[in-house]
Symmetry: D2
Subunit: 446 residues, 4 copies
C-alpha cells in the first residue's frame, strides 16, 4: 500500500541484489589494491578481483542465514570465499583480508548513497529549472499573497514560486557539497586501525577509495556517524521544502480558491464516490513523505550514539532508516516535478480572487499612505475600523475610505494618493522585480 | 538489508495480497448486510458477496494504476465491478454502494491490525510466561544491581527479571484493552454521514461490523485518528520495554561482566574478523527496532492533523508508518522471546562479580547502620571516605571500616551489626520476596 | 517567545518550588508510615513529618549544586537533614531512610502528573460539553464537507463537530483510565528491592501510597517506564486531535471560505502590517503545540531503554520532555476551548458556499441514481464527464444533466428522481441523525 | 528540574530581554538604512534609531498581550511607536515602515543564532583541542577495542579519541560554513516583496544586513525555512556525536571496566543511598540531551511545511524548538568539555583488562596467520573452536593453539609467527600511526 510513495529506482539501490553488487565491487577493489601494494599475493588478488567482477552467476544470500549472522557481510564473505576456493584454493585465503563486516556494509551503503544523490540531484535540477521557467513566465501574473491563510496583499505567481525555488536552490547547493566530500570509503579492519596493512594503511585507503570513486576518509568512521546524519538531514530538509510547495498547491487547488491545479491525466486523482472531484494526488505524495522523513532523520540522529568501536543497535537502525529516507525523498521529488511540469495556472481566477477582496488587500498601503498625517498607529487602527465596515457592509474599502475621508477637516490624501494606495501595480512591480532579481543571482548550475 | 529486523508474518498482513483479501471481505460483508436490510436488491447482494468470497482467481492491482489513482481502493472497486458485471450486469451497479475509498482502506487496515495484535499478544504471552519461569527459578540467584552503570548493591536475577516483566505485563493489559475496543469498522460513505443508508445507517454499521468481527464505531472516524495513534503508541511502548531488556542483556554479555548470554546456535552472532566473539545478535534486533519505533509513533501522532472530512497526506502517511511499526515491534518481540528461551545464566560469574566489589556494595547498609549513632549525613560522608580508601588501597571496605571504627571513642556497631551490614542475605531475601510477591499479584491471563 | 504556547498553570507544577513541595510530601508520608510500622522510631517520624509539613520557611535548592549532584534529590535530602538536625539530632538519622533519589524524584513527578491530568481532564470535559452543545445547535446547519480539501458533498456543522468530538471523548476515556491506574508511588530504595523495609515492604508501599493518594505499584518501576510512556502518548494523542480541530478552523477561516471564525477580542489576531486581517491566533497555538508534542512523546519512548536498575541519561531525558509535553498539551487545550466558547458561525456563508458548487456536490447522488440503469461505473464516468462540462461552462450540473438526459433514447430518471439527486435534504437529514445519535451514545461523564 | 541540562548562557539569548534588544537593533538598522536611501525622512530615521539604541529605559512586553497578539512583534512595534511619538510625533509614523512582524522576529532569531553559533564554535574548538592533546598523549596507550560491546582487539586510547574527534571536526567544519552563509536578514514586508522599498529593495536589504552583520538573503525567506532546518540539523548532529563520546565514557566508567572516569569534584556524582558510587554526571547530561535533540530537529523539519506567505503554526513551532535545541546542544558540549578537561585515565587498568582476555583478542591475527596454510575460512573456524576451548578451560588461547598445532602433521606457523600473532605491538603501532596521521591531516583552525 506504501509503494506509491517510494521511488522504485532508489529503493532498488538498497535491495539485496544491488547491495551484493556493491559488496563485490568493494572486495574487488580491495584485492586489486592489496595486490598492487604487495599486501597479498598478486595472483590471488587477480583471481579474487576477477571473480568478483564476473557477473556470470550472481550470489544470493539466504535471509535466514543473514538473520542468524546478524548482518549480510558474514555470509557474503563466506559464500565468496567458497566460490574463489573453487577457482583457486590459495587465493581463497586472501579474500576480505584485513577487513571487517562493517567495512563492507558501510562502503556498500556509501555506493548506494552516491547513486541516490546523483539521481536526486539530477531530478532536483530539472525541477528547479522547470520552476525557474515558471517564475519567468509568471513574473507579472498577479495573485493574492496569503498570510496565516488569510488574504493579505497582491503578489505574483512568479514571486511566489521564486521564493520557494530559493529553498530548493539552497538544498541543491548542500547536496553538491555533500556529494563531493561525504561519500567515503569505510576501511578500518576489525577495530578501525587497519592493522593488517601496517605502514601502508593510508596508501591502501587512498587506492581502494580511488578505485570505487569514493573519498578516502582521514580516519575510519565505524562509530562516527556524522556523514550518515548529514545525509539524512539534507534529505529531510529537501522533503520539507518539497512539501511546503505541495501544501501550497493543495491549498490553491481548494474548490474555493482554484487558482492552480495539478495536471489532469486519465485515471488520476478521481474519487471513487464523487465523480466531479480532482484530487491533488501528487501533492499528497510529497506531504505524506514529509510527515515521515523528519522522523527518519531523527532516528539517524538518535542512532549516532554508537558504542565503542562498533555499535550494538544504532548502526543497525541505520539500515532501517536510510533506505526509506532516500526512496521517500526521491518519491516526493518526482511528484513535485510532475506537478510543476503539468501545472495548470488559472490567471483569470487569480485576478478574480484579487478583485473580490473588497479592496482589503490595499489596507496596508492605505494605512502607510495615511501614516505621515495621522501617525502610524492611528492610521493603522483607523484603517482597521474601516476594514471592518467594508466587511460588514460588503462594500469596497475604497468606498468606505472616501466616505470617511470626506468627514475629515482636512483630507490627508489627494485623489492620486488614494488611487495609488488601491492600485496593485506597485505590489506587482515589486514582486516581479524581486523574482527576476532572484533568477539573476542564483546559481542554477549546482 | 533490513529484512532481518521485520517480522515476515506481520509484514505479510499489510502486503497487497492480504489487503485485497481484506477489501474483498469488506465488500462481501457490506453487500450481504445491505441485501438483508433491503438497501440493495437481495439478488445483487448475493452475487457480489459470492464473487468476493470466491477465492478462485485472485484480483491483482497494477502499482502504476494505484499510484495514479492515489490509493488502491479506486482501481480495486473498478476491477471488482468489472468482474461482477461479467457475472451479472445488474448486480454491478450495487458494488461498494454508498461507501467510499477510505471505508475500504481503513477497514482493511483494521483487519490487519486485529491480526497483528492477536499474533503479538500471543507471543507476548509466551515471552511473559518464559520470564515468569525464569523469575521463579532465579528468585534467589544473587547478582549485582547497577545504577548509572555502576555496581550498586546486591539483588537477584529473579528480581531483575520480575521488574522488567512488570512493564511487559502493563503493555499486555493495554493491548488486551485495545483489542476489545479499538478495532472498528470504518463505514461512512463519501463524507462520513452514510447518507445512502438513510435511517438504517446505525443498523448497517452494526451488521457489517458483526460480519467482520470488528466493533461498530459510534460515529465515522475518517479524520479522527485517535484509534490509529493509540495502536501506534502501545507498539512503541512495547518495543521500548523490549529494548530495555535487550540492552541489559547486551550489557550483561560484555566480556567484562559475562553474567548472561544469548543462546549459542550455529552461525549465530559470529564475527567475520574476530573468531572468538559471540555477538548479541538478538538483542541488537530489539535495540535497532526501538531506535526506529518511537519515530514511527511520532509520525502517527503528527499525521493526526487531517483536514476536514479526508486528510491530504496525513492519512496517507499512516500507510507508510503503521505496517513497519507493526512488523518491527513483532520482530523485536520475537528476538527477545528467543533470548529468554535460550538465556544462558552464569550464576557463578554473578557471584564472583559480587565478591569482587571490595565490599563497596554494602556501603549503603553500613551507612544506614551507622546513621543512628552518627546522624544520617555524617554516616554517609564517613562511609564515602572509607569507600575511597577501599578503592585506592584495593582493600575490602569491611577491613577499612573495622580499622577506623577501632579509633572511635565508642564503637557505634557491634560485631553482629557489622557482619549484618556486610551480609548480602538481607538484600537477597528482599529481592526474592519482592519478585515472588509480584508473580502472585500479576494477572498472567491477559 | 514560547511562553504563549505553554500553560502557565501546568508549567508551575514542574517548577522547583512545586517539586520541593512534592518531595517534602513524600518524605513526610514515608516517615509517618515508617513510624507507624515501627521501621523508624515514632518520635523521629513525627519530627521529620512535622518539619516537612511546616510551610513556614521553604527550602531553596541552588541550581549549581543540583547540577554537580546530577539531580535535585541529593542536595534536597542533605538540606532537609540539616533542618531536622537543627530540631532534633537523633531524628536526622532517619530522614529518607531506606529510600533513594529516584524514589523521591519519580514520586514528585507522579504527584505533578496527577495534578496535570486533573486539570487537563477538567478543561477537556468543558471543551467536550461546549462542543456537544454546538453539535446540538447546529445538527441541521448545512455546510460543505470537503475531502482532500476539495468540496465534496453536503454535511452539517453539527455532524462535523460530532465526529471531532468523538476523538476527544476517546482520549478522555483513556485519561480517566490512566488517572485511576498509572499514578503510582515509586519506592524501592537503592536498587528497587526496598531491602530496608524487610518483610514489611509491601505494607510500607501501600501505606505511603495511600497517604499521597497514589497507587501502590506492584513492584518498583525504576527502569520500567511504561507508565511514563503511556502518559506521554495520551497527551500527544490529545494534542493531535486538538490540532485536527484547530486546523479545520484555520481552513474555515480562510478569506475564501469564511464559514467559521475565532471570536474577536480586542488586540487579538491583528496583523502589524495588514489592518484588515483577523488571524487565527488560538488555532495557531494548538497547531504549533502539535508540531512539537509528537516529538516529545517519541523522546519518552526512546528514553525507555534505561540500563539495569537506574538509567544513565534516559531517566534524565524524561525531565526535559515530560513537563513541556504537559504544559504544551494543556496550552493547546485552553486554546481550542477558547475557540469553541467564542466560535463565530456564519451559516449564511455556509449555505452560499454550498449553493456555489454548480451542483457538483450532488454528482455522487446523481451517479448513484443513474447506476441501476447504466451500471455503476458507466454512471460514474458519465457524471464525471458532465461535471467537467459544468466546470468549463460554469453551468449547474443539473442543467448539464437535463440537457444530456434529453438525448438518451430512454431517460433513465424521472423528474422526481432528478430533483431528489440534487436535493441536499437527504444528506442533511443523515448528518443530523448521525450527530444526534452520537450524542446519545457517548459517555459525557468521563 | 531540567535547568541542569541547559546552557544558561544560550538560553538567555532567546529570552524576552535579549529578544527585545535584537528587535530594537533591527528597527534601528532599518530606520538608518531607510533614512540614508531616502525611503523615510532623515530626521525621523535618526530619531527612531537613536531611541532604539538608547539603552536607558528598556521596553518590557506583557506576556498576556503577546499571547493575544499571537506574537511579540505586534505589541513591540506598538510600544516602540508610543515611545517615539513621545519624542517626535512625526517620526512615529515611520517606525517599522514597510516591514512586517515576521521580519522582526526572524531577524531577532538570526541574531540569537549567530551568537549561539559563535559560543558553540568557541567551546567546540576548545573541546577539539583538548581531545587532540589527549590523542597525542595517549597515542601509544594500549587498551581494548570493543565491538558490539564485546572485547575485540587491541587499540590505543589515542586512536579511540582521534576517531571520535574526527566527527567533531566534521561538525565544526559544517558550523563554520553555516556561520558564514546562513545567518541572513529577514526583510520582506507583509508578503515578502518589500514593495514599500520599490526599486531600492535590494539596496535596502544589503544596507540593513550590513548594519546587523547578517547576510543579505537573495530573496525573502518567510516560508522557506531551509536555513532554520539546517541549523537544527547541525546542532542535533553535534549533540549526537557528543553523546557517542559520553556513552563511551559511561561504559568505560563501569565498575567492571574502570578504564576512564570523569574528574572528581566535591559534591559531584555522589549517590544519596550508596556512598561509594561515582556517577557519570557529566556524561549523563550529554546523553539526556541527545535523547531530546533528534526530536527537536525532527520538529523543525516537520515545521517546514509553512503555508503560502506566512505559516499558521509551523513558524510558531520553531519558537518552541530552536531555543532549547541551542541550549541543550551547548549544555551537552559544556559537559563533554568538562569531561575531557578532567578525564582520569587508568592506563594500568587498561593494560590489565587487555591481559585478562586469555589471548582471545589475538584470535583474528592468529586466524590471519593460519589463513595462507589452511585457507581463510578453515583458519577462521579452527580458531573459533580453539577460542571456545580457551573460554571453557579458562586457558590462554596461545596455550590452546600450541597444544593443537603440535598435533598437525606439518605445523603451519613458526614460533616467531606465533609470537607475532599474540603480540599487541602491531595493533598498537597501527593505532598510534593512524591517530597521529589524523592529527596531521585535520584542520584544527576551523
Amino acid at each position: 500500500m506504501d509503494a506509491q510513495f517510494h521511488s522504485a529506482g532508489i529503493a532498488a539501490l538498497f535491495e539485496p541484489a544491488t547491495e551484493l553488487a556493491h559488496m563485490l565491487a568493494f572486495e574487488a577493489a580491495l584485492a586489486r589494491a592489496q595486490g598492487e601494494l604487495g599486501l597479498i599475493p598478486a595472483a590471488a588478488a587477480a583471481i579474487i578481483a576477477d571473480t568478483c567482477e564476473d557477473s556470470g552467476s550472481p550470489l544470493r544470500l539466504d535471509p535466514e542465514t543473514v538473520r542468524r549472522a546478524g548482518n549480510p557481510a558474514i555470509p557474503f564473505v563466506s559464500m565468496l570465499t567458497d566460490r574463489i576456493r573453487s577457482v583457486d584454493a590459495d587465493a581463497a585465503a586472501w579474500v576480505h583480508y584485513g577487513a571487517t563486516s562493517q567495512d563492507l556494509i558501510d562502503t556498500a551503503t556509501m555506493l548506494a548513497l552516491r547513486e541516490t544523490f546523483a539521481i536526486v540531484r539530477h531530478d532536483l535540477h530539472q525541477l528547479r529549472e522547470s520552476m525557474a521557467t515558471l517564475v519567468r513566465t509568471h513574473a507579472r501574473t498577479p495573485m493574492l499573497a496569503r498570510t496565516l491563510l488569510q488574504q493579505a496583499m497582491p503578489t505574483t505567481l512568479g514571486y511566489k514560486l521564486a521564493a520557494a525555488l530559493a529553498g530548493l536552490d539552497q538544498v541543491a547547493a548542500r547536496m553538491t557539497e555533500i556529494s563531493t566530500t561525504h561519500f567515503a570509503l569505510q576501511l578500518g579492519g576489525p577495530v578501525g586501525t587497519l592493522a593488517a596493512a601496517g605502514a601502508q594503511a593510508s596508501e591502501l585507503v587512498r587506492d581502494v577509495a580511488a578505485r570505487l570513486g569514493l573519498a578516502p576518509a582521514a580516519i575510519c568512521w565505524h562509530t562516527n556517524r556524522v556523514r550518515i546524519a548529514e545525509c539524512g538531514a539534507v534529505l529531510a530538509t529537501l522533503t520539507g521544502q518539497l512539501a511546503k510547495i505541495a501544501r501550497d498547491v493543495v491549498l490553491e487547488m481548494q474548490s474555493e480558491v482554484a487558482e492552480l491545479a495539478e495536471g489532469h491525466a486519465s485515471g488520476k486523482g478521481g474519487s471513487s464516490a464523487m465523480p466531479h472531484k480532482h484530487n491533488p494526488v501528487d501533492s499528497v505524495v510529497a506531504i505524506a513523505a514529509a510527515t515521515v522523513t523528519p522522523q527518519l532523520a531523527a532516528g539517524l540522529f538518535a542512532a549516532m550514539t554508537q558504542e565503542h568501536e562498533r555499535g550494538a543497535g544504532g548502526w543497525h537502525a541505520e539500515w532501517l532508516l536510510l533506505p526509506q529516507l532516500c526512496s521517500l525523498s526521491h518519491g516526493a521529488l518526482q511528484s513535485v516535478l510532475e506537478i510543476m511540469l503539468g501545472l495548470r495556472v488559472d490567471a483569470e481566477r487569480m485576478r478574480a480572487n484579487l478583485d473580490s477582496t473588497l479592496g482589503l488587500t490595499s489596507a496596508s498601503a492605505l494605512a502607510n499612505a495615511l501614516a505621515p498625517a495621522l501617525g502610524r498607529d492611528v492610521a493603522h487602527s483607523t484603517v482597521q475600523a474601516w476594514s471592518r465596515s467594508a466587511l460588514s457592509e460588503r462594500r469596497n474599502l475604497r468606498e468606505i475610505a472616501e466616505r470617511n475621508l470626506a468627514t475629515f477637516e482636512k483630507n490627508p490624501l489627494t485623489q492620486a494618493q488614494l488611487a495609488d494606495a488601491f492600485s496593485i501595480e506597485r505590489e506587482v512591480a515589486a514582486a516581479e522585480a524581486r523574482a527576476l532579481q532572484y533568477l539573476q543571482q542564483r546559481s542554477p548550475a549546482t
